[in-house]
């Protein structure tokens, strides 16, 4: 090997090593914020969390203590309403796409669902405002529920479709071979087989919706008092975090961290479950 060739070889090896190290460094640098944010929320959240947070109402401005019982209930009601409106559309739409969607119409629904999942949540909030708040003339839990439902639809549709497609082909053939009508095969054989995946996918969509703030700011608005009425403004964890984080009171900041911790734990646990469930499904093939 002549001299220049040898140096060129060393140079290429060095570049290879350099770029590999760069890629690994990128990964470290990208995972760092996750570790930072999560550990900080964990430390701040655990030290701020107490029983009062779950069972007491917010105290008036200036007083320390109190909790977010109304916000926990409010978030529950909001995602309940969202699921009530959003899940039927998403799940039935997903069934259509998986079972009958192999045509231009199915392709365009699939495409628009994907595109729709990229629409900012604040825009969805504005839509819910125009659709619900304006006609009713005041802010309400209902409007917040509609906003969350619109946000859930694309994810639930696509997840349902993917989960149904993961059911082995032979299940369907077995059902049809026994003379069972196609719709019954779908409802009684395919859906139960895909149920675990669909359920966790739906849970994931609900958890994401529970973490939404922007679409609630001017639909559900917020409420410092106990309210479960669907046609009245209602409190939510996320809007509380927003208000309490900006407030100049240390005790409110503390409670914002506690709420952030509750939220992030919920989402992380469901994400891990989703991961485990879908991975075991993939592994079957």
């Amino acid at each position: 090997m002549n001299g220049t060739g040898w140096w060129r070889f060393r140079w290429r090896k060095a570049k290879n090593l350099g770029m590999s190290t760069f890629a690994a460094a990128c990964l470290l640098l990208s995972v760092a914020p996750l570790v930072l944010i999560f550990s900080y929320t964990l430390i701040q959240g655990i030290s701020s969390l107490n029983l009062a947070f779950f069972v007491q109402m917010p105290k008036p401005v200036g007083e320390t203590g109190g909790g977010m019982a109304n916000a926990l209930a409010g978030t529950g009601i909001l995602i309940g309403l969202g699921a009530l409106f959003g899940l039927p559309v998403g799940i039935m739409g997903g069934i259509y796409l998986a079972e009958y969607g192999n045509n231009p119409f199915g392709a365009s629904v699939r495409f628009l669902a994907d595109v729709m999942s990229g629409v900012p949540s604040i825009v969805v909030g504005v839509v819910a405002y125009v659709l619900v708040v304006l006609p009713m003339n005041h802010f309400s839990a209902l409007a917040g529920g509609v906003a969350l439902a619109i946000l859930m639809v694309p994810t639930v549709t696509r997840t349902t479709e993917e989960m149904i497609r993961l059911v082995p082909h032979s299940y369907r053939e077995a059902g049809l071979a026994l003379g069972i009508p196609q719709w019954k095969t779908t409802v009684r054989i395919i859906l139960p087989a895909a149920l675990k995946g669909i359920t966790t996918g739906v849970l994931l969509a609900i958890a994401r919706a529970a973490g939404e703030t922007a679409p609630l700011l001017f639909t559900a608005l917020g409420n410092r008092f106990w309210s479960t009425a669907v046609d009245q403004p209602i409190a939510s964890l996320t809007v509380f975090i927003y208000d309490y984080a900006k407030a100049p009171f240390e005790d409110w900041n503390r409670q914002a961290w506690a709420a952030g911790f509750v939220l992030i734990s919920l989402i992380l646990v469901i994400s891990v479950i989703f991961r485990v469930v879908t991975r075991s499904r993939y592994a079957e093939h």
Partner: protein
Amino acid sequence: MARPGVTPDPLTVTGDGTVRDPIAGLSRAAGPARKWNAGDFIFKHLTLLFALGVLLLVFLMGFEMYRGSALTIEKFGWDFLVTSTWDPVLDEYGALPFIVGTLVSSMLALAIAVPLGLGVAIFLAELAPRWLEQPLSFLVELLAAIPSIVYGLWGIFVLVPWLRLHIQPWLGSNLGFLPFFQGPAYGFGMLAAGLILSVMVLPIIASISRDVLRTVPTLQREAALALGATRWETTKIVLTAARSGILGAILLGLGRAVGETMAVTMVIGNRADISASLFSPGYTMASVIANEFAEATTDLYTSALIEIAFLLFVITIILNAVARLIVWSMARKFKTA
């Protein structure tokens, strides 16, 4: 796909119309022996109705916002986009400061997130051993699952003080001759918004680029390696083959950055000024809606904010549609190749 278990994630590389239809072949084989079934008819059309609902929802959203912003569209026309007065007292509205703020913060985010995200994607798709790849991918995707409000909380209490006390004074004294790094260090401002946005869009760019890299046939890698190319030289070839898909991933990231609301609103400072300095407070389209919508007093004010939402809707729909088409056509190209 040569390696099992690394087929592109169907949840992300999508829009694919080439999926198999399990029934088509069967019913044709059964021919006329398969009787018309009322249950089948009802079930099919019931699900069709809901699928149609998904389709109509998108159009309904666009239509309602167009209708809701009729007042300002009529009064200001295209001037709305290029005027920088935003004065609720005089009822004069122009969206320029918000459009500029959205552009600057998104571009700053992309400038940081694109190289990092590509590095992550290369590491995950080309370099990482398989046992490491799965958990690492999951970690990156978890970043995308953290709610925006938690990013904002972290931004207010950790990122902003850190910028104000350490990073901005250093940038100011070392790079202060550039117009971007001048002015007082508040912590809150464009820089904080760009940084927090970059963390938020990075997982999208990384995970979609990774999926895109995986659609490049293994044969291309093997051919390059067989010719004596190093790992990095092979990766360069893969990157060239995947460049359109990577562009798609970047556009999807941009779409997310443009519409991101809570975290940005909490750290950007919320002032409707246009300034060259990244230290000064700004405002984005999404954050002006978040801040002012509930307090908008006049019809014209509300209409102006709805028009901004409508603009965001149109921008993100276009970005997402183009990006999905690019990613999809690439996946299709290699599948048929």
